[in-house]
């Protein structure tokens, strides 16, 4: 896993209180009970941390951390 991927997982676990399974490859946000409000909160934390804005609605229940890594690399 890349440093970016690991950092995002750490943010989910430490800052948002998501369960440890967030570190499992390919697990979706829905599977770790990250609801729509937490997705918006996650996008806010990403903006503060990386200075990059994810397009509204780009994070969905079926997204994974790997998807977020891809979005950030393209942003």
């Amino acid at each position: 896993m890349s440093d970016l991927h690991n950092r995002l997982v750490t943010m989910l676990i430490d800052d948002l209180g998501v369960e440890d399974r967030a570190a499992e490859p390919g697990i979706t946000f829905d599977e770790i009970d990250v609801d729509s409000l937490l997705l918006v909160e996650f996008a806010l934390l990403i903006r503060r941390e990386f200075g990059k804005e994810l397009p509204e609605g780009s994070l969905t229940a079926g997204s994974t951390v790997a998807d977020v890594v891809g979005m950030l690399q393209e942003a």
Partner: protein, 405 residues
């Protein structure tokens, strides 16, 4: 007469976490007030906080990260109460369980933090969790979620009487048959720089900044305002016959409740204490208890000049000069909306143990107070009944009459 049995106790207060810790601290005396880093540089830079409250270790990471502290305190207290009642929330019929909790200031820390984010960085920096973290009703909602209570749930808001109001409403839910079990009490955690400043600017707080440990001194001639505090106190209430039928331990019963409004002033109690007098008389009538049967009163006793003076007048008129009274706020400070819940539990513990804890910091009784304010050391006192009184900004008055079992 209707008895709501108190079968479970949950306390998360400046006097400690758990009923045993609280009872020990109350009877040892000594205030919980200390300098507060969050209030550094303010005219009142001290408070009474819950000691060693680690939300993540007590509640897990999700609740520890996502809930405001006023909710976290309540969830911990509710879990304690359910456990001490010998109930199992994973197997009970949740539809028969209600939650009634008092709160007044909601998630002040969250609101203020997000307001700063808004002013500093604009709307895009505001957390989407702000509303669910900060609304006052959310504490009833989260406690219901935590214990699977799908009966009625609500928050009472009668300022510093909210916790007592909640206990009274909870008893009504049992009496009407709407619920078989109700978690009732109050919670507050608003020890933020802005909120404490708001209280200080209205003249409600003590100015004894040189010595926080002596700042909360109910009924003392030198009292000058209350000491801000946080906490939660939650009881499990059941119909007495139901509690007996399942073999539950009963600490005491809530046998009477009365409420009345001053309709006088936004923040000052009526100078005669007429409102709290009517609330207490109503609670006594509801309980079918004579004034002479009240062994002691756990008074609101905030340590403000006006509250203690007017409350003392009312208690003297209803119960007579020389009635034993204590104010546990000398130890805990004023936990605002939580106070009525916390003090209902303290009153139950007094009935259960036959002991009235002393009023901390009482050195020189206000000469206008004609009550027997217990001070110095705990007093052994077997009682058939006791009362707890609460007054709130807005002129809200609430009184509970508890009876021994």
């Amino acid at each position: 007469m209707f008895n709501a049995a108190i079968t479970g106790l949950g306390l998360v207060t400046p006097a400690g976490i758990g009923a045993d810790a609280n009872w020990g601290r109350l009877n040892a005396g000594g205030t919980a007030a200390s300098r507060d880093a969050a209030l550094s540089g303010l005219p009142v830079d001290f408070s009474c906080r819950v000691p060693d409250f680690d939300a993540v270790s007590l509640l897990g990471r999700a609740a520890g990260r996502r809930l405001d502290r006023f909710v976290q305190l309540a969830v911990v207290a509710a879990r304690q109460a359910v456990r001490s009642a010998g109930l199992d929330s994973s197997t009970w019929d949740g539809a028969r369980v209600g939650v009634v909790l008092g709160n007044s200031l909601g998630g002040s820390a969250t609101t203020e933090e997000q307001h700063r984010a808004f002013l500093t960085n604009g709307p895009a920096d505001v957390s989407p969790l702000t509303v669910p973290k900060s609304m006052v009703n959310m504490v009833a909602g989260y406690v219901a979620i935590d214990c699977g209570a799908t009966g009625p749930s609500l928050v009472t808001a009668t300022a510093c009487a909210s916790g007592a109001t909640a206990v009274g409403i909870a008893r009504d839910l049992l009496r009407s048959g709407s619920c078989d079990i109700v978690l009732a009490g109050g919670t507050e955690s608003a020890l933020t720089a802005a909120t404490v400043t708001n209280l200080q600017r209205m003249g409600a707080l003590t100015s004894r900044v040189h010595d926080p440990s002596s700042s909360s001194r109910p009924f003392d001639a030198a009292r000058d305002g209350f000491t801000p505090a946080e906490g939660a106190g939650i009881l499990v209430l059941e119909r007495e016959e139901d509690a007996r039928a399942r073999g539950a331990s009963v600490f005491a019963c809530v046998s009477g409740y009365g409420a009345a409004s001053d309709a006088f002033h936004a923040t000052q109690p009526h100078p005669s204490g007429a409102g709290v007098e009517r609330a207490l008389r109503a609670a006594l009538a509801d309980a079918g208890v004579e004034p002479a049967d009240i062994g002691h009163v756990n008074a609101h006793g905030t340590s403000t000049p006006l509250n203690d003076a007017t409350e003392a007048l009312a208690l003297t008129r209803v119960l007579g000069a020389g009635t034993p009274v204590t104010s546990t706020k000398g130890v805990t400070g004023h936990t605002l909306a939580a106070a009525g819940g916390i003090e209902a539990i303290y009153t139950a513990l007094s009935l259960h143990h036959g002991v009235v804890p002393p009023t901390a910091n009482l050195e020189s009784l206000d000469p206008a107070v004609e009550l027997d304010v217990v001070s110095g050391a705990p007093r052994a006192l077997r009682m058939r009944a006791a009362a707890s009184t609460s007054l709130g900004f807005g002129g809200h008055n609430a009184a509970l009459v508890l009876t021994a079992v």
